[in-house]
């Protein structure tokens, strides 16, 4: 029986930091009844074939030459996923051709890795499903993804600390309560990326930023007011093409809002998907 690939919850940061792929071995090909998926190995040892993401779609371009191929950016609080849909994803292509950016979307897709001759690999998603979503769904997704990512990071650091004195990391994975597919991935990640405590900490702080960015408590107390004020300010100043960040700062300053507060409010609005940055230095509200 062939098991369906899990739709991994993964932040753009972790996915985009990946470069190693795992192709099935001959042995697996023989034993798998023709089902031989390829995986992208992330630095935290997740072997990804399919993902589920919820984010804000900010850009859509038609990049096809002969046929219509659509390229889109879907943004989560840690970065952006690149999504390609062409003639073999007709429903996704139709969706992208007509979607109005920005909007919340959910994507179920397969991970694609393109390795140009020179330079770093390009990671993209080929959507199986892409549909409109809402802010509540996105917030819930961020929390799910944060929990699952932290679980993986914790398993990784547990293995790192236990295997410290063991040069052959494969030997020490037994008798540890880490699922075999994860421990296998972690060993591969150590071999391929040399992932160490530094990267894990970096990713932990990304996860933390992601959670704080959607901090639900803030929408209930004082911070909310500032977000709302800045949002109203943005809407007031926006004439369709977005607002220069410097203009926003000076207007805010004139209304007794300090630079730091504006900065954090803008970041929180960006993360909540209530505004976006079409160009660096330009903030555009999403209404």
């Amino acid at each position: 029986m062939v098991e369906r690939e899990i739709a991994h919850r993964i932040f753009a940061k972790e996915l985009n930091d990946s470069s190693s792929t795992i192709h099935s071995t001959i042995e697996e090909a023989i034993n798998s009844e023709g089902h031989t998926p390829n995986y992208l190995l992330t630095p935290v040892g997740t072997m990804v074939n399919r993902v589920f993401i919820v984010g804000v779609i900010t850009e859509v371009d038609n990049v096809g030459t002969d046929t219509d191929t659509w390229k889109a950016r879907v943004v989560d609080p840690s970065g952006a996923f690149t999504v390609y849909a062409g003639q073999y994803q007709p429903q996704a292509a139709i969706f992208l051709s007509s979607v109005e950016t920005p909007a919340f979307v959910s994507v179920v897709g397969k991970v694609r890795v393109y390795k140009p001759d020179a330079g770093s690999p390009i990671i993209s998603l080929r959507p199986e499903e892409i549909h409109l979503a809402d802010e509540a769904m996105r917030n819930c997704w961020v929390i799910d993804t944060a929990e699952l990512t932290l679980d993986r990071i914790d398993a990784f650091s547990k293995m790192l600390s236990l295997c410290e004195n063991d040069p052959d990391s494969f030997n020490c994975t037994e008798n540890m309560e880490i699922p075999s597919n994860l421990s296998e991935g972690i060993c591969l990640a150590i071999d391929n990326y040399g992932t160490g405590a530094d990267y894990l900490n970096e990713l932990r702080s990304v996860v933390k930023r992601c959670i704080i960015s959607i901090d639900l408590a803030s929408s209930a107390d004082g911070d909310k007011d500032l977000d709302v004020v800045v949002m109203e300010l943005l809407e007031e100043l926006d004439e369709g093409k977005g607002v220069e960040y410097m203009d926003l700062l000076s207007v805010a300053n004139s209304r007794n809002i300090n630079e730091k507060a504006v900065d954090s409010a803008v970041r929180s609005l960006l993360a909540k998907g209530q505004c976006y940055e079409p160009k660096i230095g330009i903030i555009r509200p999403i209404s």
């Binding site: 959910s106 819930c140 997704w141 799910d144 699952l148 932990r204 959670i211 901090d215």
Partner: protein
């Protein structure tokens, strides 16, 4: 042998594990001498030897469909039987075998001379379904070898009815003893061999699981809320879900409040807590569990369907597979894949639940089809409305040929306290910049 075949031999030795390199070399050489192309030769060698490297399994690990496995077990009992096999009268042997992990029935299709109590190693056996449970099948190609008497625990030890938690009951249990609270109970009138009987059906639970039960006698003083201790209850399986049968030979005692148990009626009578889907997939079948996740796909076959009025099967173009052209009955269902990042599960929703989840009734869907003149329009609409969304489901899982299926009894939109999860996460991340 030619050096250029070395990588192929390497690959074959790796794939075949315990077959020696020289055997493989000889086989390959022979086939190449006959001018068999290298790929074909590799294929046939793999096929020839793969069954000879059996996996040693414990009884409780047996799964229906296993092939080429090895077991080290003690024969508990064995009977000779004459059966009619395709017109020939054949002598077969059947009985029960056990190791320290469990007990299982077996059938040998070839003559074997074994006695109760013998310790044996069985190689190249297969496991098939018999009365919905695993049965070891010893065929022409199986080997049975006597082991030393002291190799396994004594027969008296292996044939004791095990005391188990409900969550541990599985394919290898024919009889169990346990203690559990009755959380559902109803009487049912049945007709068994011309006799009218009243039996009791219900659900019992301990801190590990809930299971359905049937009692063939009216249990005096037992009602919802009663905690019972029972010994030698038989276990039957249906699609991987065990049920407990209390019959004349089962002793049942009511447990009083003075006894200290790890659970109470109140603690086990709560709705089941959602489990990670990955955990649910580890089990063959589970009774009354709940999971939640995102709908990552709505499968073909969802939407408005027609059923045969005779057998209830789904029909296409008014034609039933066994009843020919019939007047179909319209119905609606949704088959969806629920995924929570730990696993993905096929969930089946009946008409009532489909209407709740989809937000349109069967009639509304039919009128949608009428407007668009296409049956696919409902399926496409469902995909648009549902894909990506969060859903919680409660029901039973069962393992069928193509994986684990979840048949839902109730559905909801998870409305979790995100604030609490956020604070828990921030606590985990304390000290992180």
């Amino acid at each position: 042998m030619d050096k250029k075949f070395a990588p192929h031999i390497e690959e074959l030795t790796k794939a075949l594990g315990n077959i020696s390199r020289s055997t493989i070399e000889d086989e390959l050489e022979l086939l190449l001498k006959y001018r068999v192309p290298i790929d074909e030769a590799k294929r046939s060698i793999l096929k020839k030897f793969q069954n000879d490297s059996p996996i040693l399994k414990k009884v409780h690990e047996l799964a229906i469909g296993d092939k080429g496995i090895a077991l080290e077990v003690r024969i508990l009992n064995i009977n000779e039987k004459n059966v009619n096999l395709r017109g020939n009268s054949v002598t077969i042997f059947s009985g029960a075998l056990a190791d320290e992990s469990g007990l299982c029935s077996f059938t040998s299709w070839k003559p074997i001379s074994l006695n109760p109590g013998d310790a044996v190693r069985v190689r190249n056996a297969s496991v098939r379904a018999w009365h919905n449970r695993a049965e070891v099948s010893i065929g022409d190609r199986s080997e049975v070898e006597l082991l030393e008497e002291t190799y396994l625990p004594d027969i008296s030890e292996l044939s004791v009815t095990p005391v188990k938690k409900l969550g541990e009951v599985g394919y290898s249990d024919m009889f169990i003893s346990s203690v559990a609270a009755v959380i559902e109970l109803y009487h049912r009138d049945v007709n068994v061999k011309g006799k009218d009987l009243t039996i009791i059906e219900g659900v019992m639970a301990d801190e590990t699981s809930r299971l359905p039960f049937v009692s063939w006698s009216l249990l005096d003083g037992v009602d919802i809320g009663t905690i019972v201790r029972f010994e030698d209850a038989s276990v039957s399986m249906y699609r991987g879900v065990p049920s407990i049968h209390l019959n004349e030979s089962t002793s049942v005692h009511i447990v009083g409040p003075e006894e200290h148990l790890p659970f109470t009626f109140a603690s086990v009578n709560l709705p089941p807590k959602p489990l990670p889907i990955g955990d649910v997939l580890q089990n063959e079948g589970m009774f009354d569990v709940s999971v939640q996740g995102n709908i990552v796909s709505v499968r073909p076959g969802s939407g408005v369907i027609a059923r045969c009025p005779e057998c209830n099967r789904v029909i296409m173009k008014n034609t039933c597979r066994s009843h020919g052209v019939v007047e179909g009955i319209q119905d609606m269902r949704i088959k969806l894949i629920l995924d929570d990042g730990t696993g993905s599960l096929l969930v089946m929703l009946n008409r009532e639940l489909s209407e709740i989840v989809y937000g349109k009734t069967l009639q509304e869907s039919e009128s949608l089809m009428g407007k668009e003149m296409s049956a696919n329009v409902v399926y496409d609409d469902m995909k648009n409305i549902l894909t990506g969304h969060y859903l919680g489901v409660r029901g039973n899982t069962s393992k069928v040929e193509y994986g684990v299926t979840f048949v839902a009894k109730s559905v909801w939109v998870p409305s979790e306290d995100l604030d609490m999860r956020v604070s828990a996460l921030l606590e985990r991340l304390e000290g992180v910049e």
